[in-house]
Amino acid sequence: MKLSTSEYFIREVFLSLRRNNWMSFASIGTVAVSLFVLGVFLILVLNMNRLASSLESQVQISVYLREDIEDSTRRRVEGNIQEMQGIESVKYVSKDEAMMRLKERLGDQKYLLDALGDKNPLPESIEVTVKLPEMVQTAAEAIGKMEGVEEAKYGQDVVEHLFDITRLMRIFGLVLMVLLAGATLFIISNTIRLTVFARRKEIAIMKYVGATDWFIRWPFLLEGMVLGFIGGIVAALALRSFYAAMAAKIYSTLAFFPLLPQYPFMNYVAVAIIVSGMIIGTIGSTISLKRFLQV
């Protein structure tokens, strides 16, 4: 493409954006809102996935042993668990160790334990990690029936709950995305249609003097792309502030939450959002050109 031709296209695009300033503004706004909502869902789903997988990888069974268990029984239980299929690791936690962990977890408030004096009410336990999360339930049930075992607890129900939420958010996000994409396409194609209409005389003359179809189409495609691009940038900037605010809120209340670090994560999100905006913009103008520009 010649330099003077590119200049011509760019001039046409900005002329047209100015000429239809209200429609352009509405298009950019719709693109920005749609992409922002899309981005919020993207951020939430990705973070939920991360939370789920980090919980999942932590999926472990706490096997609490009876108060009166003999050392030999305990070793037999350990051995039996070790021999089960799909076991990743088995770790014995003594009463003293359990107490130490509790103190650590209480931190500044460990004085609460002073009331216990020398008594240690915590049971001995065995921490069992399984290889695959699907195995947790059966493994826990089998271990629970072993001699000398008081109870075998696991966090699977939390994870399943989390999966349910994530799945729901994915579906909801997808439906919303489709609706918003539809609305965005509609408004962009209408903006381009107005442009085509405003320039119909020029288009007719271009055809008479022998401009190629692509030469005629380019400015309109570019206009749609630019609308999507600007909308994408607005959405990406808004998402950045949103994520920063969300991160600050979460870190102050739920410190343990494994939030995806803002960088480079948000850069990827920004790129995805801006590219989506450009794609939507281009598709929107293509729809209009197909219907209203018989070149």
Binding site: K2, S4, T5, Y8, K201, E202, A204, I205, M206, K207, Y208, V209, G210, A211, T212, D213, F215, I216
Partner: protein, 229 residues
């Protein structure tokens, strides 16, 4: 230049037969008037030449290109060899005289230096060099049509096709336009002009092709209008 053999045009939507097995040849450098009543097929004839209307059957070659079998993507290149002029000028109101003419070169991606040279030169031909900064609304009808002619010839077409170019103009102005056409023709450009202007046709005594009900009923080398004005 133009070779038409057994060309017919039936409009799909109405079933109307606009042209019925028309054959004609127009050579290089000819000046041809197409005459006939409104609805006789004149307009269809003219619009086929730049493939705004596609023949239903027959052979049509313009400027060495097969208009019927031509690929859609080749139409722009057919039109680059033609200059088209309409009764209603069809200028862009928000562009100056200069920009209106330059537009025809910009959109076929001509080099900028060539554009400047060619536009100035054709504005000389139509006598509007000093009004290059004016907008169409500031010009008379005759001046606007001269801008349209400048735009049509700026890409140096082999054929100029004019559909009632003097239809909106008074007789005196019409002669100014015809003067320009004669000069363009003298420089070797073929001119095909549909017209209702008896005075012009009868005075100029050029080739006249008369169309009635989709047929060529008369084709004379130095013809007259032949109808009551």
């Amino acid at each position: 230049m133009i070779h038409m053999r057994d060309v017919s045009k039936v409009y799909d939507d109405t079933g109307a037969v606009a042209l019925d097995h028309v054959s004609v040849d127009i050579g290089k450098g000819e000046f041809v008037f197409i005459v006939g009543a409104s609805g006789a097929g004149k307009s269809t004839f003219i619009r086929m030449l730049f493939r705004e209307v596609l023949p239903s059957s027959g052979v049509l070659e313009v400027n060495g290109r097969d208009v019927v079998k031509m690929d859609r993507s080749d139409v722009p290149y057919l039109r680059r060899g033609l200059g088209v002029i309409f009764q209603d000028y069809r200028l862009l109101p928000d562009k100056t005289v200069y920009e209106n003419v330059a537009f025809a070169m910009e959109v076929i991606e001509a080099p900028r230096r060539l554009i400047q040279r060619s536009v100035n030169s054709v504005l000389d031909v139509v006598g509007l060099r000093d009004k290059y900064k004016s907008f169409p609304s500031q010009l008379s009808g005759g001046e606007q049509q001269r801008v349209a002619i400048a735009r049509a010839i700026v890409n140096a077409p082999a054929i100029v096709i004019a559909d009632e170019p003097t239809g909106n103009l008074d007789p005196e102005t019409s002669w100014d336009i015809m003067d320009i056409f004669q000069r363009i023709n003298a420089a070797g450009t073929t001119i095909v002009m549909a017209t209702h202007d008896k005075n012009i046709v009868d005075t100029m005594r050029r080739r006249v092709i008369a169309i009635e009900d989709g047929h060529i009923v008369r084709d004379e080398a130095r013809g007259v209008y032949g109808y009551e004005a």
